[in-house]
Every structure is written in C-alpha cells, then in structure tokens.
C-alpha cells in the first residue's frame, strides 16, 4: 500500500499541470492543425476544404502586408532599443548619485499596461495639439503625420514600443556592464587602446548575450504586437499598421473565418520559431 502510494505520489503532484497541458496546449495544437484544412464559422458544420486555406494564404495580399509591416517594425524597433538601452545603461554605470531614481524612472513604462501607454501616445502623436508636433513646431521644424501617413505610422508605433520596453533592457545591460572589472579598462588604457577598441574588445563581449536577448524577445514581441495598433489605428491607414496578431484577430472575430485564422496562427507561429532559431544559430556562431 505504502509502496503503491509512493509510486503514484509524483504523478498526483504533477497531475494538475498534466491536465492543463493536455487541455490547453496539446489539444489546441492538434486541433489547430486540423482546422487549417477546414472552413468553419463555429456555428455551421465544419467543411473540409483540403489545402484551400494554404493556397489562399499565399495569395492573400494582407498576409504579406502583415509580414512586411512586422519586418519594418523590427527594423526600427531592435536597433533603437539596443542603442537607447545601451546609452542609458552606460550613463548609469558611473556610480552617480540618484542612480536608483533614474533606474526606477526608466523602468516605469515597463510595468504600466500597454493600454495606458497607447492611450497616452495617441495624444502625443496628435497632428495639431499633440505634444510631439507642438515641440517640433516650437523649434521651427515642420509637423510630422505620426499616425495618419501610411509610410510613417508603423515607425511611430515602433518608437512607442521602444519607449515602453527599453527600461527592462537598461537594467539587463547594466548587469552586463557591471560584470566587467574596472581594471580591464585601466589595463587597456595603459596598452594604448582607444575608446572604440575598449568598447569593441572589453564592453561588447560582456553585453553580447543581452543584445541577443533583446533581438529575440523583440522579434517575438513584434509578431505579437496587438493592442497598440488595435487602439491607435485599427491597422490603418491603408493597412500600414496591420500586425500579424491583429490580422489573426480580425479574421477570427471580425469574419469568423476560424479555419483561415488558424492557418494564419500556425504560419506566424512557425515563422517566429524559424526566425528565432536562425537568430540563435547566428548568435552561437558569433560566440
């Protein structure tokens, strides 16, 4: 009796997780793949359509548009995030007073809901009364159509997303910078290394893992971008801010195309995994 109990004990302990795993992970993945071969609006019976969803996917202009938008977003978001986080971490790493205050200030947007951040930035981006344009015109520059110009809007959202997330990476870069002993820089100076060389050969190796983390987390974040365009632009103007997640949402809950939205979800998920795997390989090679 006690032996049987002892044998079963571990399984009892993990059973709540196993149930969760079966119900909310394994079943959905399997069902999702099955859904991609069907047309279904939840109410009418499911209709088998073979590869129709996949054929439609490759011909769907909006699917490619969402991929293009995500690429454009990441093209600005990733370098900007690395540059700003690194610059702020560098400034903070000098043993200044009030370091705790600055750290807390930079970190503030990270903890606040994206909904709040988006509502605020929607006003900052305003054409006439928005703070950014008022600042620009007061310095004698022209206004920027932050959200109404189709070739600008996705970059505006990338700037906002950077502002929201960068505080986390400041902290992580700071941790990286602090692993480098001061004596390394002193030795390098004695050897006559200039500041670029010091950065390249001493600082960069210490913060490399953090840079790669920013790249990978931002890539996943870019494909999951949802509430920002949902509130600010609804994907417009001219679908220029239609993100991958927003498109899945619209197909599923705007048109009730469950089969097609599952196809989109599967495809974007695979794309994320492939891109992240490639990035990881590139990183391991670099190291």
């Amino acid at each position: 009796m006690t032996n049987l109990r002892k044998l079963l004990q571990p399984y009892l302990l993990v059973s709540p997780y196993l149930l969760h795993l079966a119900l909310f992970v394994v079943f959905p993945v399997v069902f999702s793949i099955a859904l991609t071969f069907h047309r279904w609006n939840i109410i009418a019976p499911m209709e088998f359509t073979g590869l129709d969803n996949y054929i439609h996917l490759f011909q769907d202009r909006l699917f490619w548009k969402a991929i293009l938008n995500t690429s454009q977003f990441l093209l600005i978001h990733i370098p900007l995030q690395v540059a700003v986080a690194l610059a702020l971490a560098y400034l903070l790493n000098e043993g200044l007073r009030a370091k705790g205050f600055f750290r807390a200030a930079f970190f503030m947007p990270v903890v606040i809901s994206g909904v709040v951040v988006t509502i605020i930035w929607q006003q900052l981006f305003g054409l006439d009364t928005g703070l950014l344009n008022r600042l620009l015109t007061s310095f004698g520059f022209g206004r920027v159509e932050w959200l109404s110009n189709p070739s600008v809007a996705i970059f505006s959202i990338a700037i906002m997303a950077t502002w929201k997330n960068v505080g986390l990476y400041v902290i992580l870069f700071l941790v990286g910078l602090q692993t480098v002993p001061r004596s390394y820089y002193e030795a390098a100076e004695v050897e006559g290394a200039n500041s670029w060389q010091q950065f390249r050969y001493i600082t960069l190796p210490a913060i490399n893992p953090t840079i790669f983390m920013v790249v990978i987390l931002s890539t996943i974040g870019g494909f999951s971008l949802f509430i920002e365009p949902y509130i600010m632009t609804d994907g417009g103007p001219l679908n220029s801010t239609l993100s991958a997640m927003l498109y899945i949402y619209k197909q599923a809950f705007g048109y009730y195309h469950m089969g097609y939205s599952a196809t989109l979800g599967l495809f974007f998920a695979m794309l994320i995994m492939v891109v992240v795997a490639l990035q990881k390989r590139f990183i391991e090679k670099e190291e």
Binding site: L7, Q9, P10, L13, V14, P16, Y17, H20, F24, V25, F27, P28, V29, F31, S32, L35, I42, L91, L96, F102, R103, A104, A105, F107, M108, P109, V111, I112, S113, G114, V115, V116, I120, Q123, T129, L131, W163, L168, L172, V175, M213, L217, F223, S224, I227, Y230, I231, D234, M245, Y249, A252, F253, M258, S261, L264, G265, L266, F268, A269, V276
Partner: protein, 269 residues
C-alpha cells in the same frame, strides 16, 4: 564625458519617461477645451471627466473583476507551480525527464498557434462570458514550474528526508517545509504572474463580451476605441489614469522587487 553632462542627459531621459504619465494625470483633471494647450502647469482643475466616466462605464466593477482574475490565476500558478516544480526537482519517477523537456518546449511555443483553438474550447465548455474563461486557462505556467524546480534544487535533500521521517506528507513538505525557504522565488513568480494577468487584454477581448464581466484594461480599451467616450479626450484619460493607478501605487512601494523580478525573468529566458 563630464559628470554634469551625464546628469543633464539622465535627467532629460528620466523626464521623457515620466512626463507623459504626469501629463495624463493633469490632463484628466483639465476641462476638455484646454487639454490641447496643456504645458507643464495644470489649468482649470475639474473632476468632470471622472464623473462622466463613472456614469458611462462600470469601472469599479471591472476593477474587482481584474483583481479576482489576477489573484486567482496567481494563486493557481503558485500552488501548481510549486507542486510540479517539487516533483521535478526532488522526486524520481518515470517520465520525469520527458516532462521537463515538454515544459521547456511549451515555453518556446508561440501563443498564436493555440489562441484560436483555445477560444473554440471556451465556446464548447460554454465558458464564454464567464470568469472561468479568464481564470482556468491561466492556472498553470511553464515559466513558474521551471522557477520552482530551480529553487527547490538548491535545497538539500536531507531536509526533505528528515521531514519524511517525521511522517510529513508530500504536500506538507512542499508548502510547509520547503516553500518558506524560497520566498524570493515565490515573490518573483507572484509579481510576474499578477502583472501579466492584470495587463492582459487580448484574451479578455476574445472571451468576454458582457460589460459587467470585463476586466479593467479590456473595459478601458473598448471605451477608448468605441464611440462612448464621444471623442472626449479627458474622459478617456480619466479611465486610463484609474487603470494605471493601482500599478503605479504597487510600483512605488515594491519598486525594487518589480525590477529584480523582471530582470531575473529576462536573464533566464
């Protein structure tokens, strides 16, 4: 770079992160017509925006819903995370390694793939427009399990063996003997889980349509995009202030814990 220049740059940066929140709070207390000209100092203090917002949406109710949902999911994640993490760290059983790899794999699985089928599951369970749809799928977290596993591994086996000698059951060992030794991990998991649940909007938008069951970020989102704020900026901002306020207060008190928790989760992933 000299020290004063560094201070000036840091101060400018800090202002750019804090001013927008300051502006939001001041603008929510400003008459609609004057918000556009708002600079640094408040103009014509009024609570109009708040009274209008309270009249239009059940924001108090949504606050309770959010607290309930985030609280229950956090409790579930802690309890089940500790149980599973303990089994993985301290017990030997067939399939343990397999389970460990499955958990790691689910962490790398993008949620885009499970979102639609999970919604359909909620429809089939008839959980759409119930709080169960918000709580039950959030009761377990792979990340929490891995955190607990790692923390329990640092505790010597002797402690577990001694407790077993004294006749403790496994659940008592997990929650009474081991958990008090890993409080930092518990705090980290609790903060991250609560914050994620509190700030989530996408899932509530999908499974809740009835206004009295909506979570706070969801209600504020729909208020901001829908026509009910009647393009009144001040009213929208008042709703945003109430949504931000609990987090700002918690952050002011537990600032160090917030930063440490999020940094440690970042370093692990």
């Amino acid at each position: 770079m000299s020290k004063p220049i560094k201070y000036i740059l840091l101060t400018l940066a800090a202002l750019s992160f804090l001013y927008p929140f300051y502006w939001m709070i001041v603008a929510s207390l400003t008459p609609e017509a004057q918000i556009g000209e708002l600079g640094i100092l408040p103009k014509g203090l009024t609570f109009d925006n708040y009274t209008q917002m309270f009249a239009k949406i059940p924001i108090g109710r949504s606050l309770l819903n959010s607290a309930l949902v985030a609280g229950l999911s956090t409790l579930g994640v802690l309890v089940f995370g500790a149980m599973t993490g303990y089994a993985l760290a301290k017990l030997r059983f067939k399939g343990r390694n397999g389970l460990f790899f499955v958990i790691i794999f689910t962490m790398t699985l993008p949620f885009q793939i499970t979102l639609i089928p999970n919604y359909i599951l909620m429809v089939k369970f008839q959980w759409v427009d119930t709080l169960a749809a918000l709580v039950v799928p959030a009761l377990n977290s792979a990340f929490a399990i891995l955190m607990f596993r790692q923390a329990f591994q640092t505790i010597p086996n002797d402690l577990v063996d001694a407790a077993r000698m004294d006749g403790c059951g496994e659940l008592r060992i997990v929650f009474q003997i081991l958990c008090p030794n890993i409080l930092p991990t518990i705090i980290t998991v609790a903060i991250l889980t609560f914050m994620n649940a509190w700030n989530d909007v996408l899932w509530p938008l999908i499974v809740i349509r009835e206004e009295r069951l909506m979570t706070m970020p969801q209600l504020v989102t729909l208020f901001a995009v829908g026509g009910r704020a009647e393009a009144q900026l001040g009213v929208k901002l008042a709703a945003a202030v109430l949504l931000a306020l609990p987090v700002i207060v918690a952050y002011a008190i537990f600032q160090r814990h917030f930063i440490q928790s999020m940094a440690s989760s970042g370093l692990k992933s």
